[in-house]
Amino acid sequence: MTGAPAADEREAVLEVQGVDVHLGNRQVLSDVSFTVGANDFTGLIGANGAGKTTLMRVILGLQPPSSGRVRISGREGRHRSTIGYVPQKFVFDPDMPLRARDLVALGIDAQRWGIALPSRSRRERVEAMLAAVNGLQFADTRIGRLSGGEQQRVLIAHALISEPTLLLLDEPLANLDPASTQEVVSLLAKIAAEQNIAVLISAHEMNPLLPVLDRIIYVAAGRAASGRTDEVVRADVLSKLYGDHVDVLHVHGRVLVVTGAGEGLDLHGHEGAITDGEVLR
């Protein structure tokens, strides 16, 4: 996995400039700008419905922005071969004749014509990738019969095997229990470091990611603020973003973002934490 150019560490893998998105009559994103540098581990944080998935789709070229531009590795347009993507929702039929290793192999050459000829190097490459996500033990199981966490690891392998420079993950932690969450986060951190790639991971809950994040893009009310975690997760920055008073509390090493404080506090949320811009009533 030495294919990734290790040229300038400051080189931007992804530049998003002034992106506006309208869906129907609704403005979902307005003037969103940020950059993701090579090898950055970036969190895309925001409440459900804040526009994270839309932003991912814009980056992937699946959703044309109303204005603004997206450059990938300095080039505009559709260069999606350099992006690996793990979608938020995936449902595979349990009886589909497609093993974990077949799905990973499709990550190499799904765009090619015809049936892949058996090849030892291809097979070894797939197995190495599955090993990297701790997935060798279920390589020969039908993808639809794996658990959600296992399927996710296979999808990560599928995304990584084409040696992208940027890995996009849409809410990979949303449906995982705390133990699996830890496992996936440390796995991603390990892979990002080993394979020299930039990771952009979206989440509505930032705490499990805080130990590994280099930078953060915080999305709220269709706008985004980006920077190092300590530059963004601050009461003044987030208050400006939300256009409302926001408190940022540090409790037992966890970060709680409390919004709508003027309307009275009611502490609920994930494990007693109020996070992610949920407006409380």
Partner: protein, 299 residues
């Protein structure tokens, strides 16, 4: 050799020109149907296959009206129906189910109209039944080149599209994120489906062609987890169903009531159903064995 097999192969089986044509055409069509059908099952488009074949009924009867071969009728109306389904273009499975049903209903309505016109203007009362139930034994040898060419086209299309089609069938989202033209792949696949359904309709009849399309593929999927192997196995099962069906139908001339041959299409779909039921056995037996061993450990 022929002596001890004579209870299986009734006299004249190998000499009959009809049997030769039936076996040749049946083999080719079974292979195309299996390859295309594998993806129909994978993509949850069995209903679309069924709808296309029923729309083919209208095509076949319409062909009688204008006096061309039914194959061309199947192809023309099949293509029109595929376009209609694609234009309605609903992405959610339940919506797609409805869109297919509407096209199917309209197609069958057209078939009813054409049949009544055939009955009115042409003295071919048997024609509708031939279109509906078909028979490998009545396929004319002169059609073989056209069937072979269309089969090669259908098979080539599916095999050429194999990898993009497999990924977009497994997850359209993953395929789209890689920049694959998911919609175009879907349209090209529909073209292959129209070809396969037209060929199967010609050989075993419009209302039974779905059997050859879906049955072998669905059975193979239960027998193996490997995609390429499932494709090969579906082809094998399809060819086996056709060969055995032809043999049994030929033999049935000698069954009581003597002199009445049972329809070959009946045997083909019956065998396909038997294969499907049998393909569930390994897993059912495995589950029973596991239960028994678990009970043994507990005891």
């Amino acid at each position: 050799m022929s002596g001890f097999l004579s209870p299986v192969f009734e006299p004249g089986f190998f000499a009959s020109a009809q049997v030769h044509v039936a076996l040749e055409v049946g083999t080719v069509v079974a292979l195309v149907a299996a390859a295309v059908g594998s993806f129909a099952v994978l993509r949850g488009q069995s209903f679309a296959g069924e709808a296309l074949s029923d729309v083919g009924t209208a095509g076949g009867s319409g062909a009688f009206l204008v006096g061309v071969g039914p194959l061309w009728g199947f192809l023309v109306l099949g293509a029109a129906a595929a376009c209609a389904m694609e234009l309605i273009g609903v992405q959610r499975p339940r919506g797609r189910d409805l869109a297919t049903g509407i096209v199917l209903g309209a197609g069958l309505g057209l078939a009813a109209l054409f049949f009544s016109l055939v009955a009115e203007y042409r003295d071919t009362t048997g024609a509708p039944v031939t279109v509906l139930f078909g028979s490998l034994f009545t396929v004319s040898a002169s059609l073989t080149p056209a069937i072979a060419a269309l089969s090669v086209a259908g098979l080539a299309l599916v095999l050429a599209l194999y990898r993009p089609l497999l990924l977009s069938s497994a997850s359209a989202e993953l395929a789209a994120a890689r920049g694959l033209p998911v919609r175009l792949i879907g349209v090209l696949y529909l073209v292959a489906l129209v070809l396969a359904v037209a060929l199967a309709s010609l050989t075993i009849g419009t209302i039974l062609s779905t059997g050859l399309l879906v049955g072998p593929a669905a059975s193979a999927m239960r027998l193996t987890a490997r995609p390429v192997r499932a494709l090969l196995m579906a082809g094998l099962l399809g060819v086996a169903a056709v060969w055995l069906g032809v043999l049994l139908a030929y033999d049935s001339f000698y069954w009581p009531p003597v002199g009445h041959g049972w329809p070959v299409s009946f045997f083909v779909v019956a065998l396909v159903m038997v294969f499907y039921l049998a393909s569930g056995l390994p897993r059912a037996l495995g589950a029973r064995k596991r239960r028994r061993s678990a009970a043994g450990e507990a005891a």
